[in-house]
Amino acid sequence: MEITEIQSGTVTAVAVKGRIDGATAGPLRDRLSKLIASGLSRLVVDFREVAYISSAGFRTLLIIAKQSEDAAGHLALCGISSEVRRLFEIAAFTDLFLILPSREEAIAELAKSGGS
């Protein structure tokens, strides 16, 4: 798994490439936690190049969502493929997140949101 950060105004996009599995979910969580802790409160996680996400990955997303809430931040997901979308549906995770089709739309949406 590879993680790339792209700053776009007040929004930080995090592009994830590869598998979010039992081995990579931990490093992804640490990376995203660090961003939230450092005060970056508008995060977009770009799934465009995610091959799949396992339950460990869903656990990471949930933890990050809680941390983001606690920090009064804003979190969005984007670029979710139809295969990965099915996993979100089976896990009943679609309603827990703001999900937008593209990174550009997600960044535009979070840039509008209130707060810092």
Binding site: R19, D21, G22, A51, S54, S55, K66, E83, L96
Partner: protein
């Protein structure tokens, strides 16, 4: 029949090796992206579970993954020597709740059961044997279309090990016979039938096994049965079929007989 085996040790970083091998196996056999994707997630979940929960010591343990294409199904068997755990009978809760109230226990197995067409488990000696089954053809795999009988196939040293569990009666005898005949048609000469999970076998079941046995013998092959429980043994005895099959008490002895038969 295409098949491949991968062995890893119980460390999370090893999961990628299995998923890479699975993906390559799926691609070289023309499996759809969906089949490869869903099987990857299921295998990932099962192996993660084994690594997190199966072993009570800190020693290194081997996990064996066998991939087999059986007719129109992809079978992936995962064997580990950890504590007994049957994911099939584990009742995974349906995920629900908001971000703050969401509990994630059992989500992995919920994914596995939702993505797979069938999951078979048996405990053999000190090992867990779990087989994940995904149909490779279209969306024809509908829930509810499953029979009460389950069949799984793995290959070891050129010997096809076929697990049959559930009720083996006239409603399913023909299908089983067809599936085994397909295996033989694909070149299998030695079949070891694992009947640990068998609950019942009717005369139609016996006759279909006998037909398979004769088919194999005609091709200088051999059928060996093992793992017959007391109840099923009684059916073999009462029906008079016991004497018509080669029956071994253990898997190892069964494999031994089949290896001998090849010489």
């Amino acid at each position: 029949m295409p098949n491949e085996e991968v062995r890893i040790v119980n460390q999370l970083a090893e999961i990628a090796k299995v998923v890479d091998a699975l993906d390559a196996f799926g691609r070289s056999n023309g499996l759809s992206e969906r089949v490869r994707h869903d099987m990857s997630v299921a295998v990932d979940e099962i192996i993660s579970n084994i690594i997190h929960h199966s072993h009570r010591d800190s020693a290194s343990h081997e996990i064996t993954v066998r991939m087999n294409l059986v007719a129109d199904e992809l079978h992936v068997q995962i064997v580990d020597d950890g504590a007994a755990f049957d994911p099939v009978s584990y009742d995974a809760p349906r995920p629900s709740g908001s971000v703050t109230e969401r509990a994630l226990g059992g989500l992995g197995l919920h994914l596995v059961k939702s993505l797979m067409d069938d999951v078979c488990y048996y405990r053999l000696g000190d090992s867990n044997h779990l087989t994940l089954i995904k149909k490779t053809t279209g969306p024809a795999s509908v829930a509810g279309g499953r029979s009460a009988l389950r069949l799984s196939v793995t290959v070891e040293d050129g010997i096809s090990i076929v697990g049959i569990s559930g009720r083996f009666d006239s409603s399913i005898a023909r299908e089983i016979k067809e599936r085994l005949t397909q295996l033989i048609g694909a070149g299998t000469k030695r079949i070891l039938l694992n009947l640990y999970g068998l609950e019942y076998i009717s005369s139609a079941g016996f006759w279909s096994l006998l037909a398979i046995s004769r088919e194999l013998e005609a091709r200088r092959g051999c059928l060996v049965l093992y793992g017959i429980g007391d109840e099923v043994k009684r059916l073999f005895d009462v029906s008079g079929f016991a004497g018509m099959f080669k029956i071994c008490p253990t898997r190892e002895l069964g494999l031994g007989v089949l290896r001998e038969s090849a010489n």
